[in-house]
Each structure stands twice: as structure tokens, then as C-alpha cells.
């Protein structure tokens, strides 16, 4: 796979070392994104569970709180 780097005004293919560094960074970044998405999903699930127990919708909660 061609992987490009813009190096001080020049677009070129990454060297093998640059590929290793970039792929490590990308892997770590995507894991972080997945972890953040899981946190958001867990929060949404917990919120929905509370709403289900109360038997009201999110819109109805907003009406009550506003």
C-alpha cells in the first residue's frame, strides 16, 4: 500500500521507518477512538436503561428538566 508523507513542501512515499512509526501511531489512535466510542455507547445504554425503568422517553425527561 502506498503511504504518502508531505515533507517540507515535497509529497513522497514514506520510508519503511516512517511507515512503522505512522502505523503504530494510527493503531494507538484507532484504539483510543474505539475506547471513546465504547464509553459513549455504555453511557447511552445506561441512560436508556434508566428511561426504560421510569417508563418515559428522553424528550419527556427534557420537558421535565426544562
Amino acid at each position: 500500500m502506498t503511504m504518502k508523507i508531505h515533507d517540507n513542501g515535497t509529497d513522497r512515499d514514506m520510508t519503511e521507518q516512517e511507515k512503522i512509526v505512522y502505523l503504530a501511531w494510527q493503531k494507538q489512535k484507532q484504539e483510543h477512538i474505539k475506547a471513546q466510542e465504547k464509553i459513549a455507547l455504555d453511557k447511552a445504554s445506561a441512560r436508556q436503561a434508566v428511561l426504560d425503568r421510569l417508563g418515559i422517553t428522553a424528550d419527556e425527561v427534557a420537558l421535565l428538566l426544562n
Binding site: M3, K4, I5, H6, D7, N8, G9, D11, M14, E18, Y22, W25, Q26, Q28, K29, Q30, I33
Partner: protein, 240 residues
């Protein structure tokens, strides 16, 4: 004798060139002086008088001046508050951008303008010194959202500044960089239009890199696919 040139003569064959005409010609060019002191000395003397519109170039300050009838005033170059230190540069399908030697002691604070037309994923930024990324001690505080919903996020102790997400719907970033070349922490702030899915997002990021490293450049990273666009870097003048 005033140096005022009130005519623009056209000489033809056999026309007599008088001493007065020659003196006017010699006196109305742009004479070059080392300083304003040597300028005043050269234009002084009992048989000379400054004329309104007289020009002089001063080597010490690299400016062209004109005499307005009462005093010398500067024609140019005028000082600018914002000076382009890296001309607009295009890049194509790049996963990483390295931009070195843009932060110098000439300026304390900088503005980076980034315009994107293609690519996708999270865009992050690192500070660099001597072509090497610094990968520790970043923190960012982010407010982002669509037209109807706002979110907040923060990250401390990361290996870069998270700037925004992008997915080829068009967008760009205005990034202010405070004191990157000074032996103190570096602060950034951004206003960005990015996107995620079908929505356009605004990102407002404040970031801090906590070290005394004197950075001379920066790098950008695209987390998913290569990005295409342009960037330019400007330095804020430290003097009026």
C-alpha cells in the same frame, strides 16, 4: 538651489543640456545614505534646499523616504502585523505532514491556516524541534458540536494535540500557536470547521504542551486516509 523637478524634458539630437538640467537630473534620483544623519548632511549646505517630494534611501533601516515639505516620511516597506513565514504550500493524499524551520526567534506567536479538500479521519498535531516530533506532555480541551448540540472533551498526557475530525466534506483550521520558540510551554488554540458523517462540526480546541523545548516546526497526522489541501504559516510582528 531647490531640487524640484517641474518638467520632464525630452532631449533630441543637438539639444543643449545645461548644467541646471543636469543638476536637476542628478538631484532627483533616489540617493542612498547610510543613516538619516548622513542624509541630512548631504542635503544641507547654503546652496541647496530640500524640495517637497525629495527621495532618499536609508541603508540602516532599509526604507525609502520622501520629504513632505516639513519632515521626512517613510514610503516603504511598511511594517506588517502579520508576516508570511511559509508561503501557501499544497499537499496531496498525505498521512503525515512535516513542516520544519517555521518558528524562529523573529516572532513569538504564529498562525497556521490549513485548508482541506479531501481525506478523512481525526487530524492531530505535534510540535517539532530539529525535525523530530515531541511525543509527550500534550493536553487539549475541546468544545465541539453541530448547529444544535455541543459536546466537550479533554485529554491530558497525550502524544499529540487532537484538532478535529474530517471526512472530505470540505473544511479547514485556523491554528494559533503561542510561544513555540521560547523556552516555556507552548499554547495552541484553534477554530475549525470539520465534519463527521453527514454533519458539519465546529471544533474549538485549546491545547498546551508542557515543556521548555524550543520548537521550530510542527507535524500533522491524518488517522484514516491521506489528506489533500494547502497550508500557510504567518508570524505575528513583535513591534509596531
Amino acid at each position: 538651489m531647490a531640487n524640484t523637478q517641474t518638467t520632464v524634458p525630452l532631449f533630441v539630437a543637438n539639444t543643449v543640456l545645461t548644467a541646471a538640467q543636469q543638476n536637476i537630473s542628478a538631484g532627483t534620483g533616489v540617493p542612498v545614505f547610510a543613516t538619516t544623519v548622513t542624509r541630512d548632511a548631504a542635503f544641507g549646505g547654503s546652496n541647496k534646499a530640500l524640495a517637497e517630494g525629495q527621495l532618499a534611501y536609508i541603508e540602516a533601516s532599509n526604507v525609502v523616504q520622501y520629504y513632505d515639505g516639513a519632515a521626512w516620511a517613510t514610503v516603504g516597506p511598511l511594517s506588517s502585523g502579520l508576516v508570511c513565514v511559509k508561503a501557501q504550500t499544497a499537499f496531496s493524499v498525505a498521512l503525515t505532514l512535516n513542516v520544519d524551520n517555521v518558528f524562529t526567534s523573529s516572532y513569538s506567536n504564529y498562525k497556521i491556516l490549513l485548508s482541506l479538500t479531501a481525506g478523512s479521519g481525526s487530524i492531530t498535531m505535534r510540535l517539532r524541534a530539529s525535525s523530530t516530533d515531541t511525543t509527550t506532555n500534550y493536553k487539549t480541551r475541546t468544545i465541539y458540536g453541530t448547529s444544535s448540540t455541543l459536546f466537550a472533551a479533554d485529554a491530558t498526557g497525550t502524544d499529540d494535540f487532537y484538532l478535529f475530525d474530517y471526512d472530505a466534506q470540505g473544511g479547514g483550521a485556523e491554528i494559533s500557536v503561542i510561544a513555540p520558540q521560547q523556552a516555556q510551554g507552548t499554547t495552541i488554540s484553534t477554530v475549525t470547521f470539520g465534519s463527521s458523517g453527514a454533519n458539519g462540526y465546529i471544533y474549538n480546541v485549546a491545547g498546551y504542551q508542557n515543556s521548555s523545548t524550543q520548537f521550530d516546526g510542527f507535524s500533522l497526522f491524518a488517522a484514516t486516509t491521506g489528506i489533500t489541501g494547502t497550508y500557510a504559516v504567518y508570524g505575528y510582528s513583535k513591534t509596531v
